[in-house]
Symmetry: C2
Subunit: 367 residues, 2 copies
Amino acid sequence: MNKNLAKEAIVKLKAYKKVVDKELGLFFARQLDECKDIDETACAAISALEDFSLRGGKRIRAALIYYGFLCFSKEKPGKDLLRASMAMELVQSFLLIHDDIVDRDELRRGEDTVHKIFEKMGEKKFSFGKNIKEKEHFGRSAAILVGDVCVALANMALAEVKFENKTRASYELNRVIRNTTFGQIIDSESSYCEIVPESTLQKTLKIYRLKTAAYTIEVPLRIGAVLAGATNREIDKIKSYAEPLGIAFNIQDDILGLFGKKEKFGKPTGSDLKEGKKTLLLLKALELATKEEGAFIMKNLGARNMSEKTVNRIKEIMLKTGAYDYCVNYAKDLILDSKKIISRQNYREKGKSFILGISDYLLEREC
Amino acid sequence: MNKNLAKEAIVKLKAYKKVVDKELGLFFARQLDECKDIDETACAAISALEDFSLRGGKRIRAALIYYGFLCFSKEKPGKDLLRASMAMELVQSFLLIHDDIVDRDELRRGEDTVHKIFEKMGEKKFSFGKNIKEKEHFGRSAAILVGDVCVALANMALAEVKFENKTRASYELNRVIRNTTFGQIIDSESSYCEIVPESTLQKTLKIYRLKTAAYTIEVPLRIGAVLAGATNREIDKIKSYAEPLGIAFNIQDDILGLFGKKEKFGKPTGSDLKEGKKTLLLLKALELATKEEGAFIMKNLGARNMSEKTVNRIKEIMLKTGAYDYCVNYAKDLILDSKKIISRQNYREKGKSFILGISDYLLEREC
């Protein structure tokens, strides 16, 4: 591992976050200005989106569009590249807002999810406030619609930039929205399905590929490459290293969701267990556990009111059986494989060192 | 009114529906083919969208893109125009699927809404079937996500066509998604608000402008004009007649939702009353009603379990007070105003006669 490259990539990522967040702020300010003439409720929706989008997040996806472009183009990156990459963050807000409804999460990036925000707002503003069912319906409905506004904004932002290949970028962006959503549908269905050893594992890896590998790593790099005018061969090559990198990222997310520090991760510990998610970590623990341990996990998996004690007991089983170590090492191996392939690419230095640096950073991420 | 022009427009609309539905069928077949490699659940989502999109609908919006193009271009309309206009129907499915969740409607175009379809599917397939809360959550979640897939498909379809101005069309399409969704947010909020005579009326008209006038008439015509390469002046002029036409369309929808034949309209009678919607028809009835009649309406408005007897009593009040006649005539006047403006436009004959014919058709629509 190259600690310096990781450090440099983090510095670059932070610098990028600063400028893209400024651009997001300007974008939302223009939107607010346009919506002032429409209605105060429209403005409230835009403000909610701005708060949500700017409250946190590392901007890895957007940065990968930016540095993906720099892998293939010697052009100086300008405002248009910044804006095109910003669209990815709007897509991210859209997907997160709807995911949180589906997963019934109440916290995101350490604060209320959007449906929770509107639930509380409705409770104060309207007479149904005491009726829990109505309150929940109101919050959820507002969040569905605010999410829909956000995907429209993402497409508007991309339509405004000046790039010859922007329609192809738009196609890539919307195809990955489609596929990520497929991943989410499969994911939320699989919570209800029984575990069948090999087939459940295959399903889990498919969800990782759709929801994370393609969406978080591969397609942002593809969009950058498309905008830079890379060849189809170059664009299609990206998958070879982006997919293992993305799967590793997902496995790490699962680990951090249970073993990470809550204040760093921004989501309550153990929500995957409570939602009944079949993570690789869980499947591996079940594979390696004793009969009693396995029965204990299965008895509690999917219990929305799971106690901290039960969560801790399952964590112990994951550590004791070696499932935890297996997943940590598997993610590490995937990242090392990716790095080898990235190193062989004939990319321009600025882009390549960032992607390699991000890979090194993933080797030791804590949030 | 020109009955012949109306008749001709309906013949053209039906012919257009036939070809655009065939195109939609081909589009979904290609999507299914692509998604076969992804997952069976992805295929199920695509099939659900295909069934929903093709189960009915008049295709007015998509046809207005098509004939809007023909107002400004002498080019023979080809496959690409058909595909671009088809994207509008995908947007329509997306918006309807989410609207039905928000409005808690169970019927759409005479059949189950998408969230109901998935609710029933989940009930059969998974063990939570007996738990109503879980079943509802599953159906709703699936419908949120299937809707999201659909908006991505609409943007993918538009990105694929060959038109010089297609990015501007994409901008228009996504801006109208944003604004229609704003209309829906304002609409669903206003159900919970008390009625304040003048300000509620203004809000209702604003919702009509956003949710129907812009979305159903103005923007489809604008997109057609953009694709045909019309001037900005020509594009901006569209609003002058499209807005009154669209408001009339919305007022008629409200009337048909209460007084129309259920089997033609495809939604249960009185759902606006049950949802507490402040339609122009309702506001006018309240304005003209006696104290007792007004109190009767207000006591029942928004009652989700409203009896047929109560619905009928409110309908009687609407007729007796003249609110019904007022709305019918108001819509008629708006349409006649629009027609005068359309007649003055220097449009090519093929496009113009269709828009005039559709206006004439609206004068006597029954569904």
